[in-house]
């Protein structure tokens, strides 16, 4: 066993190092804890609730009983049905049958898992032609790091982590296994209030041991003692198969290959001791981890879990936070409609505007009357403040007039669950009551609310985000039946009633879904719902369509407490108990995580790395609370509020770290190109990655794919009219609805022949796009959305139908969706009619400014897309020096670049052609220059022609190519000059005469003729000028050469 008994989750280097082991028995007798799935290739292998895994708790006594039964000769006390696999007894044959079905499934899973891992091994040998869009392969963290520290000439623009960090390896082949930390918490069904618009305190209230859970849990970690080699020569590209075999052979009893997990379970059950079972099981898990980590396991750093400069992270929160703990305030409230953080004092409400950036200035204040406050929401035009005073009363105050009024309900019949303002055309405010929804219209003149419509349901609780304009109303015993509405500026859409899945726990115990378990997220403009299944330890993903709710799959969770954020369209699933975050890029339908579970990092804003490390220590110690502490509230979409300490953070992605965590460069680039925040930084990062792989001379095919990704991304942004400077006007007419999808499908359009699944998805998305074009047209012409839904019905393919976004989602909230972090009120307000919105949204989509959403200019500067010219300037021109020794390789890369660019029919600056010629000439590959020119691979231009002439000094045919090109380009002056230089003065003269080139001085011709000492020719030239050039006879040239001619003859 290890020298360390305790582990924390935050400083481990690899997920496989997370303690998967048993804790003292009392802590873990919750049934749901053991039900955990294995994820391979994004395929879920859940262990069935009835499977032996689930039966662990009962196994000791079961076994004893069965042993007793065996000893007693069996059959005593009525018939028993015993399972041959796990020796459990069942009262009926049906029960046994069901149980054995579970075994059967388990065997199938094991078989499949085995197959998959074998495939994975093969796949890493030879990258599979069909790459899952989200499977990020074996990692090569050290690559980028080495890049960072080696070529200073490359001038890496971005800050990097201390290179002492070794990023953990996260393999798509074997996802990490369930984190047992989740089993700490029995707190199922925490009762709390809605996050948004409601009091923040009290969330996660019932977490028993969270704050010190990770740190204090005794960890029986199977130590593999020898440290991971840091930046050693052997890299992570060691084939998985090799590793797998070596690890399984080297690991003793503790490690078993995944394929034998079933046997494990059986053994454990037979042995009867839970701890042993756990260990074995975890051994297998550790093996999974080991698949990804070459060499032996690193020792886990026993740091403070929340910090230390050793901590690795893909996600961080930036220090300093917004501090709003003014002494006299009473809690914090968040108004997500206006993105305001509100803190009421005795007689006023302080509000901090947190969009587009967290504003650190002193808050605005509004005076309100005293009283209890349940929630506060400003109206979307900020003219009215609504304050929920109790379950029956909401008070409103007009901020301009100061008039107040109150709306009350009878306490006995119904109670108010909450309210929110909406930009829906028919109503302004919606009350959620236990008996249903009230849609009300605010009449400013009368300063009162008028009931527009009531919808009657039984509502247990609700979830709403302004971002999605979507409200989900839970009802039913288990609160799993949902009614959904979308109140958008386009109108009201009612979703079909649907039911969420809950894994059944023990008999007679029905888990109740709480509002903490359901999260609405918008990713890439699509609305999803995430539902936590604490029993099944699964996170279900639903996607909302206009007329359907479709379950998209599940994600495993490793904590019974989950928080969800969306940062830049990346889904962050906070495993609160485990204190780690798992990132998903739900772009295609893959639900594979894009990174290893790593802790959230508290990072200071200093730019200097060393200083930062120091600062981090300070800030962390200065921060009184704990990361993922009880008082943390996760606000939609990407904010964290520490209620106790009155702090607000925005979550940020550490894109460098994410990029560094994967070795599949094209996929990384695709991922980065989909990001919208920090476009400049992303662009630099992409360029740096490209430079690195070129400098490292990675296979040309890989680079070709990487370039394809970037160019395709640029092509799509260019199609939307924003990537090319001066092309802004086009955005008015550009297909805005389609463009959303174009962004989405952008990087995937590169028709790599091997990526057939992507192709199909591309087709699908293009189909979608077409639909949206229709939609857009329809909505533009009619300015109404009602008809749009009908239009969609015309589509033959139901799949395409389904995947259509509701028009409403497109119209208003895209503003926010495309910029999860920032949205300006003005845009919401102005988005009252669809026709107005389109250009606006286009603007939004096109420019993806990090600083200001309203920034309509300078999109060129802020777009993520990299134009071919930028690529030349920042990649090829830079690496050319680096690659001095091997121009051939660079030429190969340039050819791939040209291929990619020509596919999209972009203009390429002649500089790159010039460079190609230089490189080829350096290798004496003049014949290939000829081929390049003749085949027009290098497009004709003056620069190219001049370079050909320059390079042609050593090679006459190349020189001639240059001359020919000048002629073809009709660069008469240059052509004549060059001809003269070469001594072809007669030809030059003829040409000059034909094309009326008068800029070349006659003396040059005469001089050239004189050099040949041919009196006839000289005389001819002289005669020519005398005849054709008026006034030539009077010049000194004429007389001079006439004299020379006389002398010569």
């Amino acid at each position: 066993m290890s020298e360390r008994e305790t582990h924390d989750f935050m400083s481990v280097d690899s997920f496989s190092q997370l303690p998967f082991i048993g804790r003292p028995a009392p802590g873990r007798d919750k049934p749901q804890a053991s039900n955990s799935g294995i994820r391979l290739f994004g395929i879920e292998f859940p262990q069935d609730p009835d499977s032996p895994v689930e039966d662990i708790e009962s196994s000791p006594k079961d076994q004893s009983s069965s042993a007793a039964a065996a000893g007693g000769g069996g059959g005593s006390g009525g018939r028993k049905f015993e399972c041959h696999y796990c020796c459990r007894n069942f009262p009926t044959s049906q029960a046994l049958g069901g149980h054995q079905n579970a075994h059967k499934r388990e065997r199938q899973h094991a078989k499949r898992a085995h197959l998959q891992s074998a495939m994975a091994a093969a796949a890493h040998h030879h990258p599979p032609p069909i790459a899952d869009g989200h499977v990020y392969g074996l990692l090569n963290y050290h690559r980028l790091n080495s890049l960072i520290h080696t070529p200073s000439r490359l001038g890496l623009p971005f800050e990097q982590h201390p290179h002492s960090l070794q990023y953990p390896h996260w393999s798509s082949t074997g996802s990490p296994n369930p984190n047992p930390a989740g089993r700490f918490y029995a707190g199922v069904g925490t009762v709390s209030q809605p996050i948004t618009g409601n009091p923040l305190p009290g969330l996660w209230r019932s977490v028993p041991a969270t704050s010190h859970g990770g740190a204090t849990s005794p960890v029986a970690h199977r130590d593999r003692s020898s440290p991971l080699p840091l930046f050693s020569g052997d890299d992570s590209r060691i084939p998985v198969g090799v590793l797998a075999s070596s690890s399984s052979s080297s690991s003793s009893s503790s490690s078993t290959p995944p394929s034998t997990a079933k046997d494990n379970h059986r053994q454990t059950l037979e042995s009867g001791t839970v701890n042993e079972r756990e260990e074995k099981h975890l051994g297998a898990e550790a093996d999974f981890g080991k698949l990804c980590v070459p060499g032996e396991r690193n020792t886990v750093r026993n740091k403070d879990w929340y910090g230390g400069f050793c901590a690795l992270s893909h996600v961080y929160i930036q220090h300093p936070p917004l501090r709003c703990n003014i002494p006299e305030t009473q809690g914090l409230y968040y108004d997500d409609g206006n993105k305001l953080l509100l803190s009421p004092t005795a007689d006023q409400v302080l509000s901090w505007k947190i969009a587009p950036t967290i504003q650190l200035d002193p808050p605005e204040s509004d005076s309100v009357s005293e009283g209890p406050i349940l929630s506060i929401r400003y109206s979307l035009d900020r003219k009215v403040i609504g304050i929920q005073r109790s379950n029956h009363e909401i008070q409103f105050k007009n901020r301009e007039t100061g008039e107040m009024f109150t709306r009350k309900y009878r306490p006995d019949s119904e109670s108010i669950l909450g309210f929110f303002w909406t930009d829906c055309p028919t109503c302004d405010i919606i009350f959620i009551k236990t008996s249903g929804l009230d849609l009300l219209h605010y009449e400013p003149e009368l300063n009162t609310l008028r009931l527009v419509e009531s919808k009657r349901f039984n509502v247990s609780w609700y979830v709403y985000t302004h971002e999605s304009r979507m409200i989900l109303l839970a009802s039913g015993m288990q609160c799993t039946v949902f009614y959904g509405f979308q109140f958008s500026s386009g109108g009201i859409i009612r979703l079909p009633k649907f039911e969420m899945t809950m894994t059944k726990a023990e008999a007679n115990q029905k888990p109740v879904l709480t509002e903490d378990d359901v999260h609405i997220v918008t990713i890439y403009g699509r609305i999803y719902c995430l539902q936590l299944d604490r029993v099944g330890m699964l996170l279900y993903l639903y996607r909302f369509y206009r007329d359907a709710v479709v379950q998209q799959g599940t994600m495993p969770i490793y904590s019974s407490k989950i928080a969800v954020s969306v940062v830049d369209n990346v889904l962050l699933v906070h495993q609160v108990d485990a204190k780690v975050v798992i990132l998903y890029d739900i772009f295609l339908d893959s639900l594979a995580p894009i990174s290893a579970p790593l802790p959230l990092l508290l990072r200071s804003s200093s730019n200097n790395r060393r200083q930062k490390i120091l600062l981090e220590d300070n800030t962390i110690s200065a921060y009184g609370g704990t990361i993922y502490g009880d008082s943390w509230t996760f606000l939609v979409p990407d904010l964290i509020c520490d209620v106790d300490n009155g702090m607000l953070w925005r979550i940020s992605l550490d894109l460098e770290a994410i990029a560094a965590s994967s070795s599949d460069i094209p996929l990384v680039l695709e991922f980065l190109q989909r990001r919208k925040s920090e476009p400049t930084k992303i662009k630099q990062l992409c360029l740096a990655i490209l430079r690195t792989i070129i400098v490292e001379k990675r296979p040309v095919s890989l680079i070709a794919r990487a370039i394809d990704v970037l160019i395709a991304s640029y092509a799509h942004s260019a199609k939307m009219g924003n990537a090319l400077p001066g092309d802004k006007g086009a955005s008015e007419n550009s297909p805005s609805t389609g463009s959303q999808h174009r962004i989405d499908s952008g990087p995937h359009v590169d028709p790599r022949s091997e990526m057939s699944p992507e192709r199909s998805s591309e087709q699908e998305s293009s189909g979608k796009e077409k639909e949206h074009q229709q939609d857009r047209d329809a909505s533009k012409t009619r300015a109404t959305d009602v008809s749009v839904g009908k239009l969609k019905l015309a589509v033959s393919d139901p799949e395409v139908d389904m995947s259509l976004e509701p028009v409403e989602t497109r119209s208003g909230q895209f503003l926010e969706k495309s910029f999860p972090c920032e949205k300006e009120d003005i845009q919401v307000e102005s988005s009252n009619t669809a026709s107005e919105k389109f250009p606006l949204r286009t603007e939004e989509l096109n420019s993806s400014p990090s600083t200001s959403a309203s920034n309509q200019q300078g999109t060129q500067l802020t777009s993520v897309a990299i134009s071919p010219n930028e690529m030349y300037n920042s990649v090829f021109a830079v690496v050319e020096d680096e690659m001095g020794a091997d121009p051939a390789y660079l030429v190969a890369v340039i050819v791939e670049f040209l291929r990619s660019v020509s596919k999209e029919k972009f203009y390429v600056h002649p500089k790159i052609y010039v460079m190609t010629i230089q490189l080829l000439a350096r290798n004496n590959r003049y014949s290939e220059i000829g081929l390049f020119i003749i085949n027009k691979i290098l497009e004709p231009s003056k620069e190219v022609a001049l370079q050909l002439l320059e390079s042609g000094r050593q090679n006459l045919p190349t020189h001639k190519l240059g001359i020919d090109m000048l002629r073809q380009l009709s660069l008469h002056y240059d052509y004549v000059t060059i001809l003269l230089q070469d001594g072809y003065y007669l030809e030059a003269l003829r040409y000059a005469h034909k094309y009326k080139v008068i800029t070349v001085r006659p003396s040059l011709f005469l001089e050239a003729a004189l050099v040949t000492r041919d009196t006839q020719n000289l005389a001819a030239v002289l005669r020519f000028f005398s005849d054709f050039l008026p006034g030539f006879k009077e010049t000194s040239d004429c007389s001079r050469y006439q004299r020379i001619l006389v002398e010569m003859s």
Binding site: S753, Y889, K903, K960
Partner: protein
């Protein structure tokens, strides 16, 4: 061809007599019967096809042959028959000799200087007389022009075309002028044949001088030259007649490559494939490659000269057309191959001369087999096979000791002066010739690994390129420009493009004769310009009216040549000039537009 003494007799009759004799002979040797039957059939058929007549002495030879068969059991029927077949060819009008002036300078050693003589059964006295004449002329003209001694001698009945392949190693082609009208040719075209065969020889065997230095006796060089040149000549047989380029081939240029014009997009794809082949296919070695589509060059990474050699060889032996060899190639290079059977038999029988003993020996290989080593004959026909893996294989270079795996052919590149292994991959009509540095392939495993890597890495791209090329492929007449019969030559790049041969044959004989004459003049003019000022390339243009009122135009502009026949042209010269201008602007990017 009406020649020889006495009245001509059809070979047909001879063959029948011979066949009777052979059948009788074969009846004694059951094992040969079948082969013999086939050969007799072939003999008869080809004779009938060609409708040739032969000299009486051939008949006499046949008789001798039959006699030999009867008396020398060891002599292979087949070989003799092939020899006879060869004998029946009309050889007297054509001679090729290769000799080294540095050898045989002493009395009685004259034979030593002969490296090759065709026809090889010519008596030594005849050989020596030809070579002696040539040597004398060379020595004489060297007095006046040491650099370029002699180019051509026009005698009354013969043309002697000289080519100094290597210093002091001369190749001379002797063409007999016949009375009929067909024997007009261009000496430069003939010289290009000599040049081509020498270049190809160098590519496979290295220079003659090095071979002579390696083995001063000269056997090595002779053993290689004989089969090589004879194999090469098989491509010139039409029927059983050696047909050297005549005036009818004026719109062809030997020693150039014909390229496929591709769009930029496809060109980039091809280039992408090339770089893939060059840098990432086989380990870290940098490979060269030449890609052909049908008989047209698509891309190359070699120098123009090496490209020409590889291209020529590929068109002769490697392209799908050459492999099947049944179909008549439309290539500019390949002439009729209808006489395949004759040619095959011919090559098999040739090369009996090895050490000057002039005895009929078993065959070229066995003759060169003194050392027990096979002499590779890269130009042997029908020796390349397409394997299941898409690679072409051959046993020309023999097999490795103790295995059946054929040795990979190697070629010597002029530009880089290194040996490269020839690895040919064929997919449909796309032929990819990959040249792997010979030093990098250690053994057979290395090769198979290389092939495997190649297929893995490049296969998708090859498929892609082939598909795109096929799509854009306009067929063999795709470069036909209606109204024009043309030949464009880019001398710098050794590239030419011409009207399809099928279209050229529609020209009247007068036009062709005029063109031939014109080209001869242009050749002379070029040569003169070259000699007076090698730095300066003269432009000149000739436009003449042939007897049949066709315009025959030649235009040379800075290393590029355009030859053109306009038969249905208007009366005026202006019209002809405009036609040239139009053609130039449209198809030559204005290279020949008059300034």
């Amino acid at each position: 061809m009406r020649r020889g003494r006495g009245s001509p007799k059809t070979l047909n009759g001879v063959s029948r007599g011979l066949a009777r004799a052979l059948v009788a002979a074969a009846s004694r040797r059951q094992d040969q019967q079948k082969r013999l039957g086939g050969l007799i059939y072939n003999l008869q058929r080809t004779d009938l096809d060609a409708g040739c007549t032969v000299d009486q002495d051939v008949e006499w030879l046949l008789g001798i042959g039959v006699f030999l068969i009867w008396n020398h059991e060891k002599l292979d029927f087949l070989e003799f028959l092939q020899y006879l077949q060869f004998k029946t060819l009309d050889v007297h009008i054509f001679k090729i000799c290769i000799f080294d002036l540095r050898r045989g300078q002493h009395e009685g050693q004259e034979l030593d200087k002969i490296l090759f003589f065709f026809p090889m059964e010519a008596p030594f006295s005849a050989q020596l007389s030809v070579i002696g004449l040539c040597e004398g002329i060379i020595t004489f003209t060297r007095i006046f022009s040491p650099e370029a001694a002699c180019e051509v001698i026009e005698a009354e009945r013969h043309s002697y075309v000289f080519y100094e392949a290597e210093p002091d190693i001369w190749m001379v082609m002797v063409m007999e002028k016949s009375k009929d009208n067909e024997s007009f040719w261009r000496c430069d075209a003939l010289r290009r044949i000599l040049k081509e065969v020498h270049y190809l020889f160098m590519m496979f065997h290295g220079s003659l001088r090095s071979l002579l230095e390696k083995q001063p006796g000269g056997e090595l060089a002779r053993n290689r030259l004989y089969p090589f040149v004879l194999d090469y000549l098989t491509d010139f047989y039409v029927g059983k007649k050696l047909q050297m380029p005549s005036f009818r081939d004026s719109l062809r240029e030997r020693g150039t490559v014909q390229t496929l014009t591709v769009s930029r997009e496809v060109a980039i794809e091809v280039q992408s494939l090339i770089t893939m082949l060059g840098y990432s296919c086989i380990g870290n070695t940098t490979c060269k490659s030449v890609i052909l589509f049908h008989d047209l060059l698509v891309s190359t990474t070699l120098s123009p000269e090496d490209t020409t050699n590889i291209y020529t060889y590929a068109v002769l032996r490697l392209t799908p057309q050459a492999l099947s060899s049944s179909t008549n190639s439309w290539s500019y290079l390949l002439k009729g191959t209808s006489a395949t059977t004759v040619a095959v038999g011919f090559t098999a029988a040739t090369g009996p001369v090895s050490d000057g003993s002039q005895q009929l020996s078993r065959d070229a290989s066995s003759a060169g087999q003194g050392q027990g080593n096979n002499v590779p004959r890269p130009l042997q026909r029908e020796k390349w096979f397409k394997g299941k893996d898409g690679f072409l294989t051959t046993d020309i270079w023999g097999a490795e000791v103790g295995s059946l795996v054929p040795v990979l052919p190697t070629v010597w590149l002029r530009e880089t002066e290194e040996n490269m292994c020839l690895c040919i991959y064929q997919h449909k009509n796309l032929t990819v010739v990959i040249l792997i540095p010979a030093c990098s392939l250690i053994n057979e495993q290395g090769l198979s690994l290389a092939k495997q890597q190649l297929v893995e890495n490049a296969y998708p791209k090859i498929l892609n390129v082939e598909e795109k090329l096929s799509r854009g492929w306009g067929g063999e007449n795709s470069y036909h420009v209606s109204g024009y019969r043309y030949l464009v030559i880019d001398g710098d790049r050794h590239i030419s493009r011409a009207s399809p041969p099928g279209k050229v044959t529609t020209l009247a004989k007068d036009s062709l004769l005029t063109l031939n004459k014109l080209r001869e003049e242009v050749d002379l003019e070029k040569l003169r310009a070259q000699r007076t000022n090698p730095e300066h390339e003269n432009d000149f243009e000739v436009c003449i009216r042939a007897k049949n009122n066709a315009w025959v135009i030649a235009k040379v502009t800075r290393g590029k040549e355009l030859h053109m026949v306009l038969e249905k042209a208007n009366e005026t010269l202006l019209y002809a000039t405009e036609a040239v201008e139009k053609f130039s602007n449209r198809y030559c990017e204005g290279a020949f537009s008059s300034d």
